[in-house]
Amino acid sequence: MSLGLTLNNARIDYAGHTLFRDISARLEAGSWTALLGRSGCGKSSLLRLLAGLEMSDLHQLDLATDDGQPLTDRVAWMAQQDLLLPWRRVIDNLWLGDDLRRRPRNRKLAHELLAAVGLEGREQAWPDALSGGQRQRVALARTLYQQAPVVMMDEPFSAVDAITRLELHDLASRLLKGRTVLMVTHDPLEALRLADQLLVLRPSSLPGHGAELERLPGLGAARPVPLDDPALPPAQAQLIARLRDSEEAA
């Protein structure tokens, strides 16, 4: 259930000026892509554009899937907030999509996924009774439950503490294996540990073009890259320097 994506001519105009235009990128089937850039450069807008979410700004996008079928209903969305519905118990949050589409619920899959994210026995808990890390794990389980070949995540692990975040990296990279993932993040370490390729949205040298996309390779090692991997610190220092450069150029 892998699905590669090719995007071309992505453009968003916000409040009368161009956020970016002529953006192209390739998301290989089953690969993990991290999207980085300074605040306000339009990372999240680009992600929303690709996910097909409602946008009030002027926008344009040519999006091609490898199988030629539309992407609609084949994208799972995960945001910075866990977006759990407080009036649904943990397990009911997983099959929200089934209820919204009037499809039968897959109880077996829901239980399996909750066990996989370490929440066995909490199926009937209210979301408000869970910790931030637990809630984000439920959100991850809900994202997986959709069984979508493409997963788009907007800073999914930024609202939890550092240790929980590292645990979530392990969990997410294991469970999202085989999916095509696009993840917006502010965290260079997170990007380097998880991604096969890094896309940096930075100010374009062309006037009136807004931002442009720079592609950097990932570390190419096993995912997630272990914290004590010797290649990690220099790569991180390099990436931070790069992000800082792009900020100064702006």
Partner: protein, 255 residues
């Protein structure tokens, strides 16, 4: 346990009020036709129980009918406002106008148009309940988190399913505050209606007793009305809590 606790505080408050009442009589030596003793009121309450029950039955029916109608109309208005943008420009000002017209002023008109029977009182109660329900319901429906709407979009929800599964439950806490407000206001509507012109009901009984200097009967009728209003509030509150089990511990408590 908490509920029992709340009840105990209510009883203590009632006893304090009763003590104050008795104290005022003892200190000012006010004659019983101005302020009757609690004991005299209790005697009338027992002696005239069938009469009070008859009139209470009428008023309670008016209040409950008004409550149901007001909540339904308020909800319908909130939904229309939230989902038909074109309606907002005309409906919102009308909603406001309906609220700023003093009910006391139109009560005689309603009685003139709709008669001395229950209908005019039900309409009064409906009018007084309608606004808080419509406005809190509309606010609640408007303030659905954008993230939830995004999620519903990627999950392929139709507008109708989105309303049922996301927007309505999200609006429920706000709507519940409106319904609680309505529950305390509803008896006022019915009694004003009865004052403006009626042949039965607790408001009618009070007005009549007042004219005949039966102040103890007037107090007894008032007590029945207060007791029912409290009962109505607490029952509705319990019902709303049962509807929102996830929200239980975040609600502000009366006591």
């Amino acid at each position: 346990m908490k509920r029992l606790h709340a009840m105990r505080h209510l009883v203590i408050s009632a006893l304090l009020l009763l003590g104050l009442w008795q104290l005022i009589i003892a200190v000012t030596a006010v004659p019983p036709y101005i302020l009757p003793t609690p004991q005299a009121v209790l005697e009338v309450l027992i002696e005239k129980a069938p009469l009070l029950a008859h009139h209470a039955g009428v008023t309670i029916s008016e209040i409950l009918a008004g409550l149901v109608l007001g909540i339904l109309l308020g909800l319908a208005t909130a939904l229309a406002l939230a989902f038909i943008p074109r309606l907002r420009r005309t409906l919102l000002p009308m909603l406001l106008i309906s609220q700023v017209i003093p009910l006391f002023a139109i009560a005689p008109l309603l009685v003139l148009w709709l008669g001395y029977d229950m209908l005019s009182k039900v309409v009064m109660a409906t009018l007084i309940i309608y606004f808080p329900v419509a406005s809190t319901g509309y606010d609640g429906l408007r303030q659905t988190q954008q993230g939830w709407l995004d999620l519903a979009h990627t999950l392929g929800a139709s507008p109708w399913r989105r309303l049922i599964h996301i927007q309505l439950p999200a609006a429920l806490p706000a709507l519940a505050s409106g319904i609680r407000m309505a529950a305390t206001a509803a008896p006022i509507g019915a009694v004003i209606g009865e004052w403006a012109g009626a042949s039965q009901g607790l408001g009618y009984l009070m007005l009549n007793a007042n004219a005949r200097m039966e102040i103890d009967l007037m107090f007894a009728a008032l007590l029945v009305l207060v007791a029912f209003s409290l009962l109505l509030y607490f029952s509705l509150d319990a019902l709303l809590r049962a509807l929102m089990p996830w929200h239980r511990d975040r609600l502000t408590r009366l006591s």
